[in-house]
């Protein structure tokens, strides 16, 4: 008995199964090679191509009026789509995580649905609803409302594509946190809004922030769905990714990559924020273990 205890108390037991150093480093090198070729090089090439003709050409491309118009439009679209999906993501996660009801997993599957639909189809559905030959098309034209080939169509397609991001970040976390703290707040006489503000929100803030960042990155970078509903009208319905496509197809590569580098930068910032938030999540106390 005692000898077994002694063995168990040794902190670092040598591994019986180990990989030789040569094999180990070969495996690491192959993995790094694959990641480098497949992922890091395309990312690096965006910046290399953007600066191919120097900084003046780079900033000249970014200062182009059409590029600035595209940036403004992308910001407008994201500024409408992201807050809406933020609110409804939180509301949906609350309904799903804090209550038990039949058909819950079905509802979760429906919320995830936009992830499994091709971006092109996501745009197509709105053309079928609001386009010239669409269900509401003739009615809308009569009343002078344009949705397809205009900003409302871009916003709708973007909301569709980014629909699941916030809810999907929050649901697993809120389910894991359970309902005890909210129930205690009810017992202490808190109203629904007070419970959300004072109890739930502090528990989910980092996951919420991460969901919003992902939602925003996709909203600003969405290409397929937006491409279908935009009509590619320069200066009017061209978002940044669509502007990149036009410049590229005109063989204006430096400008295309310069504008694309903005989106690549946004992606890198999103990933950096994710790394920071992961670290915050890992050091922040778990619910129930919180200091008084």
């Amino acid at each position: 008995m005692s000898s077994a205890n002694i063995v168990l108390s040794v902190p670092q037991r040598p591994r019986i199964v180990s990989t030789g150093a040569a094999l180990r480093w070969t495996l690491i090198a192959v993995a790094l090679g694959v990641i480098g070729l497949l992922i890091a090089m395309p990312l690096a090439s965006v910046f290399a191509e953007a600066f191919r003709q120097g900084a003046d050409a780079y900033f000249g491309a970014l200062g182009d009026p059409m590029a600035i118009a595209a940036m403004k439009l992308t910001l407008i679209v994201a500024a409408i789509a992201v807050p809406l999906n933020l609110v409804f993501g939180v509301v949906g996660a609350w309904a799903i995580a804090k209550f038990e009801f039949r058909g819950k997993s079905f509802l979760i599957a429906l919320i995830d649905l936009p992830f499994s639909v091709s971006p092109v189809v996501s745009g197509l559905v709105f053309v079928l609803l609001f386009g010239m030959q669409g269900w509401f098309g003739p009615f809308l034209i009569e009343h002078g409302v344009q949705i397809i080939f205009a900003v409302p169509g871009l916003v709708l397609a973007t909301i569709f594509v980014t629909f699941p991001f916030v809810a999907r970040e929050l649901i697993p976390l809120m389910q894991q946190q359970g309902t005890q703290e909210e129930e205690a707040a009810v017992a202490l006489g808190a109203s629904g809004w007070q419970i959300f503000r004072r109890v739930t929100l502090p528990n989910i803030k980092w996951a919420l922030l991460y969901g919003v960042l992902l939602c925003n990155a996709r909203a600003m970078g969405e290409f397929g769905a937006v491409s279908v509903v935009s009509g590619h009208i320069r200066g009017a319905t061209n978002t940044i990714p669509l502007h990149v496509e036009i410049l590229y197809n005109e063989y204006n590569f430096v400008a295309a990559f310069a504008v694309a580098s903005l989106l690549a930068l946004l992606a890198l910032l999103t990933l950096a924020a994710k790394a920071v938030l992961d670290w915050r999540l890992s050091v922040s106390p778990k619910p129930g273990e919180r200091k008084t």
Partner: protein, 286 residues
Amino acid sequence: MSAVYSGWIPFKPKPSVIPGFGLTFGLTVTWLSLIVLIPLAALFARAASLGPDEFIAATASPRVLAALRLSFVTSIIAALVSTVLGGFIAWVLVRHPFPGRRFVDAIIDVPFALPTAVAGIALTTLYAETGWLGGLLAQIGIKAAFTPLGILIALVFIGLPFVVRTVQPVIEDLDHETEEAAACLGASRWQTLRRIVFPTIAPALVTGFTLAFARGVGEYGSVIFIAGNLPMVSEIAPLLIVIKLEEFAYAQATAIAVVMLCASFAFLLAINILQRRMAASRVSGR
């Protein structure tokens, strides 16, 4: 009420003291219906209004069939390649720590975060014959950009993080004791990997494969630049939908979209059933 009628009522909540079910549930379902369900219903309603002859005429043309076949075949191959590479990368990241691992781990997510159009033009420039990698491949007689091989590269780029992120947590949860027990019983490292490790991570690999496949079939932005888009050769189904829309052939675009959605749904369902059978046969002891 509920005591009187005890039949199956969908979305009926169990009693809870927490307020707000009616409000949040109602808002969620309304918003979901407006943004997702009604638009998708419009797609199927439109397809149903076509009539069988029109539907078949829209989808049975050689060009449409070639595009659908290309989309499905390249997505399946790319998902397989992603599964092998992604499983390997996840294994190395978990089991063989090296300096800078956290940074490399973060890089894996780049295809998730990088907009598809940016990935598309970057991969095209890289793999064109004038590019860094395309030039090397050209020397050994391989043309990557503007061929189906280019489509495959783009889809592996998109699919890889799905596999890594699905398999990685499962490998982290593997306990060394089982592997060590196998080694003590005289199993070689290869036998342990094949008989102990692989069966444990296989379900995650299959899930990663299906995620990569589902994303790949509908992928548009990262593929269209590198594909070359030659009808019958390197024209993917999503691009054909866009082309039909630009020709204002809404009926054809709708028909292709519905076939694409249904086919990928059927494929995913088949994999799901296969996965359940596998799990069941493992439990019952083969």
